[in-house]
Each structure stands twice: as C-alpha cells, then as structure tokens.
Symmetry: C2
Subunit: 384 residues, 2 copies
C-alpha cells in the first residue's frame, strides 16, 4: 500500500542529516554543559555553537536565543513573563491562535486578572489590522501585549509581521508572534522586524521533537518560567538536551541553506493540489486563504468537502485506509473530539456540517502523491 | 591521556542500547502522537508502551506517570500544582534540596505568599525526623506540602521515604520527593510507599537528556503547568518527544533489569575509592554521610581536602588536566561562582576554606580509574 504523509504541519520527518548529527552527539558527547571539566565544556560549546548559528541567520544576538523543550513551553514562558515581569495587564490576541497561546492567555486572565481582547478577523480568518489599531487605541495606560501568530497552523493565513510590529511600536505595546509554523520556512530578519518575542519548534522544520527556542529581545528583562539551575543565563532551568539542540541546529541550518529551492518545490506541490481539487472535486471549498498562494503559506491547504452523515465521519478513516495521512481540524488536537476552534471562527453555521481536512506538504512529498491523493479523494466524494 | 568520567551525578553517558533505540525512532517513527492516522497511532503506541513499562516497575497506574522535559520541569510543575490546585499554603522542605525545588518553593512564596519552613538537619546533612514532626504539628489548618529529596545530589545522604511518608500521612500533608538521583538506582514500590509525587530525569540513569517524568498519585487532582494541547491527558501540553521517551524507557528498563548486579559493581568502586582516600589521603574528610555505605547512595562520595590558597583553586583544573572529570560543589551549578548551598549548610566556618569535590560513579567506570584518580589526588595533595 502507498504511504503518503500529508500532515507536515503537525510534525515533519527529521532529515537524515539531523538524525545522524543527533546520533553522533548521543554516542560521543554526554557531558553536562554546566560542568566546567572537559566533558562539560565540549557540550557547552555545542550549545553555544547552535545558538550563534541561529542568531546569525535571524540577525539577532546569540543571547537573545533561549532553548526550550518546544514551542508550547516557549509560548507559555513568554506570555507569563510579560505579565509577571513586564507589567502587562492587557493582552490582545485572536481567537484562532494555537492553544499554546490561547490557554496561556486564559491562565493569565485567571491568575492575574489580565484583560483579554480579541481582534476582529475577516471572513477568511485574517487579522483586521484596523481592529487591532482601535483596540490598541483603547488600551489607555495599561501595558499591553499583542500575541498573533505568523502562519496559522490550520488554515495557513499569513500575518504581516512588519505591519503589526509597526502598529505595536506606535502604541508602545509588546509584540509576540508564535512563529512555530514559519521558522524554517520563511526568512525573518530581526535586525529590522519590530518584534519582541518569537517562538519556534524544531519538529516543524524536519528537526527533532522536544526542542525549540524563544527569541527574547535583549531590552525585555524577563525571568525564568522553569526555575532551578542557572542554565540559559538563568532564563530556562534544566539540563540542556544537547542532542536535541544539535538536531535543531542541523535542521535549522539546512532549512535556511535550501529555503528558496525547497520553497519552490513545496509550493509546486501545493499548487498542483489546489489545481487538482479545483478540477476534480469542484464542489470542495478552501478554508481561509489557503488556496491563495500570496496570502497563505506554501506548506498547506485546508479543504471543506460537501459530503454528509456517515460518509463525512468516514472521510479521514477512508484516507488512512488508503495510506494517506492528513488532519481533520488541527493535528495537535485531532485526537480530541472537539471541533477545530479555528474553523469554528470562520466557517458559517450552514457550512459546519461539512468535514474539513488539512493537507500539509514537505520536501519529502512528491507530485505523484498529490495526484494519488486527489484521485482517492475524488472517488470517495463521487461514490454514493 | 586517560579520560576518567567521575561526574555521573551530573549526568551519565547513555547506554549504547538507548542510543540505538532512539536512533531507530528518529529514523522511522515521526508521527505526531496526537494525530489519529497510522503515523500518529504508532507514535502514540510507543509512548503508551513506555508509560506502562515504567508503571509496572514502580507498581503504580500508567495514568500516574506523566512525561516531562526533565526533572526540573517536573519539580516546578508539582510544587506549583500543589499550591494552585490543591490549596497548599505551607511548604516544609530542607535547605539542601536541589535548586529546582528550592527556587520553585521561593516562587510560591513570592507569588502566593506560601509559608516556607526548613527542617533541621543533623551535622552530616540528614533530615531530623523529629523536627519534621514538630513543624507538621504546628501547621494548624494550613494545607501542607513536604518536599524532601530521596538521595542528595551533592553529598549522597539517603532519606527514609517510608518514614517521611508515614509522618506526612499522620499529619495529612502532601509528600513530594525529588527522586532524580534515585530512580534507576533504587527500587521504589509505589504500591506501599506513601508518597504523592515523585520526579525523575532519564539522563541520571544512562538515558537521554531533555526527558523525565513525574509520578502524580491518582487522587491528587492537579492541572497542567505548561498549557496548550491536550497531551498527557491534559497534564502536560506540547508535542511529545517520542525518541526521548523511548530512550528514557530503554534506560529505565535496563537499569531495573540489572539493578542488583550493577549496584554491587558501582558500590565496589565507591568502596575502593573510600578505602583509597582513607589510606593515601588521610587528611581528607568526607562530607555528609558519603563515606557511610548504609546512610549514603552507592553512586557518589564528596570529599573535603585540606589544601589552601592557589593550590585549592587549582585542584579541579589539575584533575581536569589529568583527564579526571569530577565536580566542585554541585555539577548542575559548577559553572557558577557561588559556593555549594548544600555544603554551606553542613560544613563549619572553619572548614569552609577547604575545597570539596564530588566523585560520582557508574557502570562505565573501572577499578583502575579509581586507583589512578587516588594516585593523582594523593600526589597533588602531597606536593608543596
């Protein structure tokens, strides 16, 4: 049977080079980076090398990169720090952020009574920039954090980071962007991008799970979320996972070395997929801007398919039986029974009966896989 | 040059079987465990298999084992949960706990005004159980958490978990033990041990860094520390690091399969080390109970050496030059300039000028390494 993995927004396969780099560290380098002896120093050097590599590519200082156990921890840390350490009393976000952001924001509201506002979205799920400006205008003296993701993980809509950053600057607000779906896929130049905080997860760009990083601009004096030892200059306690950090570095380096050619390739798969759907499953709709190659990431599409009842329930299972892995709602919660909170915001009541599927692509996919998937999908929709 | 790694309490080398198990996962299994398709389900099965394996060995329920990014996160999570979710308003701990516990306790005092008490220690750094009882007797109606580590990471003193657990039971207090230095080295039978929370880190028992677990007794209804997706039954958000969890499982399984024989072997190294010191460096003192094979873990010794001035400063460097890695103070903070907070509690003012060294052993060490180290140490102490 064929095996087609079209769930790359949920997680990606590590590149073989990443796996080998990690294997070498696991086999040969085990010192605790906090130890001052030879074993410790060589582990420390690996971590600092990774930090410099990332900082160079993103045009920031190495000290602004803090390793974490992943994107979720990074989002939690930043949002909590803003409230606890930077005096933030108001958070502006959107209802279609990742749960790592939304639930962290909810905690701040519960624990600290922080005021929470949600920007308006257009009918495709993109942020209404004028709504953001009006909300910021109403902030008064309350220190505000704006947290809006760069690439939406379910529908792929892109945020204009530069524009949001400038607006935040004008109103003196902090700006955090969950860039978990964009780091490794888009160039980010922090020398000119007005953003205070970013978050990344290696497993979204062919690195290992369980490791990520935060960018914390040097003028933001925050404290640690996880406390204990003095690792990461006191900003993140816990013995560093060297093999995972080296895996992250390797994946990051390769992603940016090949970004242009790989983007073209993955975009060609998405383009073919969109074309295929339009041609062979004309009754399908695209959620958000996911069919718009300008307003949406090149890595995914999100489809709404007009089938009903048992057939709708069977859709994902049918694809799985045909060896096709994709996601219904967000992959990060596809095991749960709740509908996607993102689609709930943008799909009308009349359309909610239609099942939605996210197909997300990577360099390890092929055009043949796209064609095969369109065929399986078409036949399923056609059958009575 | 020789290369002797005697800093196994800071971190251990992963077993080759662990490295291979992780390599296989990294090469072949990358699905997101939250995804419902084939790729996701097989990753999920790996995690649930690891959970069952650990639960079986510790005689608890699989649902009581929650994977984390390590011991520090686990300690933070448990201590915060006790205060936020279980109504704890008073914490009893000791001044020689790991910083992951002490700093988490400090945060609870700052953020929630939780009252903090420290048990008295005897002059060797062991907990005075009657002091614990009197403190518990004074708690009044305030819900109390007792957090005391099983094996002290610097001096190796053992806590009587059974005894402390019974005392806590009598006074209706919650009991957390940081078992980071003991899981994988000691049998723990949770079917009869009266403890609510334990914490573990794989890299302390020849597993990978960046992964650990918490034991949370099923009657303790706590909430997540890191919030976001519904992973780990809602108790720890963030995509699970499958390769690290499989590495943890492999290390855990092997540690318990070979525990008796490996304990004998490591104990023979410690015994030889203690004998060697007594014979060849008779002016040296042992910190805590570390020379007492009953009251201290078999994995480490902590020495105080009567040398002064520049020579004292050079000690660790001298050993490193001879290829011997050990730790001055706690390895987890040996990169920092502060003295060990543990030794500060038990060493008298008159003894504080003497440098202290921790030597910690593992199955990968040899008797020859012990003899070599004693010789190097002896010659250094002897030289003018």
């Amino acid at each position: 049977m064929k095996s087609v993995y079209f769930d790359n927004a949920a997680t990606t396969a590590p590149r073989p080079e990443v796996v080998e780099a990690m294997h070498a560290v696991l086999s040969e380098q085990f010192g605790n980076p906090s130890s001052t002896h030879t074993f410790g120093r060589s582990s420390k050097a690996l971590i600092e090398g990774a930090r410099k590599e990332i900082a160079k590519t993103l045009s920031c200082k190495p000290s602004e990169i803090i390793f974490t156990s992943g994107g979720t921890e990074a989002d939690n840390c930043i949002i909590r720090s803003c409230v606890r350490d930077l005096g933030v009393r108001r958070i502006i976000t959107s209802k279609i952020e990742h749960h790592a952001v939304l639930h962290a924001v909810d905690s701040m509201s519960e624990e600290y009574g922080v005021e929470v506002e949600y920007v308006a979205l257009d009918s495709y799920g993109s942020v209404d920039y004028s709504s953001l400006e009006s909300l910021l205008g109403l902030a008064g003296a309350k220190k505000t954090l704006v947290t809006l993701m760069h690439v939406n993980n379910e529908i792929g809509n892109l945020l204009d980071l530069q524009k949001v950053g400038r607006i935040c600057e004008t109103y003196g607000a902090y700006f955090h962007s969950d860039t978990v779906q964009s780091i490794g896929h888009y160039y980010l130049d922090l020398a000119q991008l007005p953003v205070h905080f970013l978050t990344a997860a290696a497993h979204k760009f062919h690195g290992p799970k369980g490791v990520g990083f935060m960018y914390i601009r040097s003028d933001c004096r925050v404290r640690s979320f996880i406390v204990g030892g003095a690792q990461e200059r006191g900003l993140r306690a816990g013995t560093e996972s060297i093999h995972d950090i080296v895996g992250l570095e390797s994946a990051f380096k390769l992603a940016y070395r090949h970004l242009d050619s790989e983007r073209s390739y993955v975009l060609s798969l998405k383009t073919a997929f969109v074309q295929g759907v339009k041609e062979h499953i004309p009754t399908a709709h695209f959620n958000g801007y996911s069919a718009d190659l300008e307003k949406s990431t090149y890595t995914l599409v999100n489809l709404r398919i007009p089938i009903i009842g048992d057939k709708a329930t069977m859709l994902l299972f049918h694809l799985d039986l045909h060896g096709i892995a994709c996601s219904q709602g967000s992959a990060c919660q596809s095991g749960s029974n709740k509908g996607s909170h993102v689609l709930n915001e943008i799909v009308t009541e009349e359309e909610k009966w239609m099942p939605s599927l996210r197909f997300s692509f990577s360099i390890f996919n092929t055009l043949e896989e796209v064609e095969y998937t369109i065929k399986v999908l078409k036949n399923f929709v056609k059958e009575v």
